[in-house]
Amino acid sequence: MNDYVASLIQTTCITMIGVISIFPLTGMTGLFSFGQAAYMAVGAYVSGIAAVKFGLPFWLCLVLGVCVSGVMAVIIGLPTLKLRKDYFALMSLCLGEAVTAVLNKFGAITGGAAGLSNIPKRATMLMIVLSTIAVIAMVGLFKSSRFGRMSLAIKTDELAAKSFGINVFAHKMKVYIFTSMIAGFAGVLYAFYLTYLDPNLFGWTRSSEWVIFLFFGGVNSLTGSVISTIFLTTLPEVLRFASSARIVMYTVMILLVINFMPSGLLGEKEFSIPKIIKFFKNHFHKKSRIGGEG
């Protein structure tokens, strides 16, 4: 495998963790987050600084990065998750901008616009791929648990959800912390893969890219998020021959899907082995029945 393909796989995996980090929040609970990359930035910078300035071992940096992201989610979530959904979306956009501004201003610690370099390269290909699979599995289990169900209930009808004993605020808080920690984890991997950080890597373009990927694949489909991330990150590479026209082709592609398939490529469908077996069984059943009658 050459370096180009390897780097493509690794960046795709990290982006995928990012997209999956907003899936429980935006896709399932219906809270739009246009600033989720802020948590990626926090995870990346906290772990990066811990490694560069304090020389801490990788595993400790990882724990620190993920935990600080979680703590920040608590601080941000407490006042904002009681707001209506649209105000929360606005707040998340501001959060993303605020974090990049802070990273730019406090150059003494973060390296400012010049960036933070010399982070040791610790994230290997195997580690990144395995963590992506682990994150997908965890979010998949989240979806099939009572927490996933409560999220979907809150998304459809908050008042009805409350009438069935669900503490909406507490639930939103849990989901927000959970998703922010995943984004923080993506940030840690990113820092130790890239070995160099720069505030502009975590601007709103990245956050909105994640939302686009999520909606392209299907709002309520984890499988959709995975497929759309693979497809949309490799598409610009495949279209490289078309030079600047590739951006147009890429955009048209997304617009077509969002316009003609408003619920995304897969909608609510999920990949599951029992369902596939059932589908084939029914299929053969029908065929044999038709054959019998004929």
Partner: protein, 255 residues
Amino acid sequence: MALLKVENIAKTFGGVCAVNGFSMEIDRGEVVGIIGPNGAGKTTIFNLISKVYKTDCGKLWLDGTDISAYSQEQAARSGIGRTFQNIRLFTGLSVLDNVKVSCDYKPRYTLLEAILSLPRTIKGKKKTECEAVECLKAVGLERFADERPGNLPYGMQRRLEIARALALKPKVLMLDEPAAGLNPEECVELVSFLKEVIKRFDLALIIIEHRMDVVMNLCDRIYVQDFGKNIGVGTPLEIQNNPKVLAAYLGEGDD
């Protein structure tokens, strides 16, 4: 003391007095009906008891505990189950999952246990599944477990709402116009179904209903509301012969 005791609750919206001092008592196994013309404040009473709205004054007692200051989810957890006048099912969930939602507030497993699928999660999921299937069977919808609620006919959606409320294991079940949109035969069916539910789940039932055949056949006691005020309480027979009620409500309607 009665299972649910409502003491002089009131609610105003701006200058409109939606409920003006409503009192009620109900015991296990009893059925109470609330009737009255449109805009009489019947649904507001439900919303006050289930704590969707905060009461301006008055007290609520459930099984001896004061629930006046409870939040909506606390009221639900303490045993007040309800349905809505305009059906509010979770359209994004399957029929079975709609019922399961009622069991989901119970901390059978934590988020950490869920994402790692630890033993308590697997056990908890099984328990929830059992309870939900049982409630679906009680209303006869187990065949449609994997269907989306939007695909069910109207009457079945109403039944699903009842199943979802039953899964909360309520002490008091409140149904807001359960017979709306049903034909006469379905109404007869509904009455016998509800009688069975009361026996089987050992609960108190409060219904709001416009269909007099349902109310008169089902209720032990009827409260008549008009413009936020109570204008009569009594057995179906007493209500039918109450001149005040006849003047305000039954006498005026064309149906």
